[in-house]
């Protein structure tokens, strides 16, 4: 029963990723695309955690932590680029 629930939630998260991808290609402005990328990072963290639960191993959370940090740093860097025109002063 638990494995079935995990697969259903995986389907929901994949639909969410497809909607994010649509916004990423469709988005009328640049901050929309950055927001879609940030949401895609969070949804992929959810997918990795669900895979770790399905396989029953605690090894996948290092990857999830790395993706979380990369998502924050990349979003902050692109926002700084949009605000100031360069990333590092």
């Amino acid at each position: 029963m638990l494995n079935f629930t995990i697969i259903i939630i995986c389907v929901l998260v994949c639909i969410a990723l497809l909607l994010n991808t649509w916004r990423l290609f469709e988005g009328p402005s640049m901050p929309d695309r950055i927001l879609a990328l940030d949401t895609m990072f969070i949804n992929s963290i959810a997918l990795i955690v669900l895979m770790g639960m399905y396989m029953g191993s605690p090894l996948y959370f290092e990857g999830a932590l790395l993706i979380a940090m990369l998502g924050f740093v990349s979003t902050a860097a692109v926002c700084t680029y949009l605000l100031r025109g360069d990333i590092i002063k």
């Binding site: 995990i6 929901l12 949401t39 639960m53 605690p58 940090m69 926002c79 949009l82």
Partner: protein, 120 residues
Amino acid sequence: MSVIIEIVVMVLLIIGGLFLLVGSIGLARLPDFFTRLHAPTKATTMGIGCILIASMVLLAATQQILSVHELMITIFLFITAPITAHMLSKAALHQRLSIMEKTRNQHLVAFAEKRQPPKR
């Protein structure tokens, strides 16, 4: 693994997955950037927190490991989501994106665009 823990994990997973889906639907469907910003930064953060806590409960019940990784990811995401939302809204104000007509207090937009960082 007892039935109660399984039910708790399933309820947390369903809540988390529904919140993730609602956040992404809001990102795809809402009309304006500043309204679109609400959906992923609130609903998606709540959903990912529920899924990570479900994973932590499941690992603690099945393998007797109290893994702190999920708690770390949760706290990290809960800290960084408002920061990214703030930076994105500042970038959107800087780019002068169009605002919905029903937005209240629109005279504050010009003030927010001109604001400078505090002097050291």
